[in-house]
């Protein structure tokens, strides 16, 4: 086994186990912390695939912005383990069964489609540095890029409007 494969296995184990712990831990704050570790390991996968810029952006956006938002919301609502209500046992059993079935079906599909996946060839061409990504983003994807900025602006206005306290009617 090469070192890259060992690294991939370790990162995958961290990703999957922390994703499970996110769902199973009773305290929402612990879930958020486990999710941060999961996002960091996914950034490690991006680094392994040699997409450095994407890894940095992933850490900034997910581990930085989104998880801080989650933590602030959890603290604002003052959630803790005592107030946690669980689904009835039959629903949880159904969730586990459907998880196993979805996994089985999707993995079987991808195992059977394996011959279609060909060999990997490397042309040595630069395709994922910041320079190339910036050129593609601002030439071919100019209009979606601007629409993304409009989307973020609208989301910001909507968030402020939604979370503003309503005035009591006199």
């Amino acid at each position: 086994m090469s070192t890259v494969l060992i690294l991939f296995c370790v990162l995958s184990a961290i990703t999957l186990s922390t994703a499970f712990l996110t769902i199973f831990s009773k305290n929402p704050i612990h879930s958020a912390i486990y999710l941060v570790i999961c996002f960091f390991s996914i950034a490690g996968h991006y680094l392994l695939l040699n997409a450095q810029f994407l890894a940095i952006v992933h850490i900034i956006v997910y581990s930085g912005a989104i998880m801080i938002l989650f933590l602030f919301t959890i603290m604002l609502m003052n959630l803790n383990e005592q107030r946690e209500v669980y689904r009835p046992r039959i629903t949880r059993l159904g969730a586990i069964v459907s998880f196993c079935l979805i996994c089985l079906v999707l993995i079987t599909i991808f195992i059977n489609s394996k011959p279609i996946v060909g060999e990997y060839t490397s042309t040595g061409e630069d395709y994922q540095s910041i320079k190339v990504l910036g050129k593609i983003l601002l030439n071919e994807y100019m209009v979606p890029f601007e629409f993304a900025s409009i989307l973020l602006l609208v989301a910001m206005i909507g968030t402020v409007l939604l979370s503003k306290k309503e005035k009591l009617e006199k």
Partner: protein
């Protein structure tokens, strides 16, 4: 580092993404806390992003990574609006257990 997929194989990335996506679906079905449901949705989005980057490396094409940027922007907007909705639900109902939201039930 150039022939990373020769050593790992695209199948391993496909299986990892599939299992991660299934964990997300499982979280949505298993928990009643709306915040954990949101986190599960984030896990699903990340599984798809990981597969996009893997196939972008496989095809030596930067467009997959550009799509991941847009999906990250949409995820950020979605989380901001969703958490604002959750906060206002919490103000009105006092809890965010999703089974309590049945005002529309006849």
């Amino acid at each position: 580092m150039n022939n990373i997929l020769n050593q790992i194989g695209i199948e391993n990335y496909i299986f990892l993404s599939v299992i991660l996506f299934c964990i997300g679906v499982f979280g949505v079905l298993y928990r009643r806390n709306a915040i954990i449901v949101f986190m599960s949705i984030e896990i699903m989005l990340n599984a798809v992003n990981l597969l996009f980057v893997a196939f972008s490396t496989y095809h030596q094409d930067a467009q997959g990574q550009v799509f991941v940027f847009f999906s990250m922007a949409v995820a950020a907007a979605e989380v901001a609006v969703g958490l604002a909705i959750l906060v206002s639900i919490f103000r009105n109902l006092g809890s965010i257990t999703i089974d309590n939201l049945k005002n529309l039930k006849g």
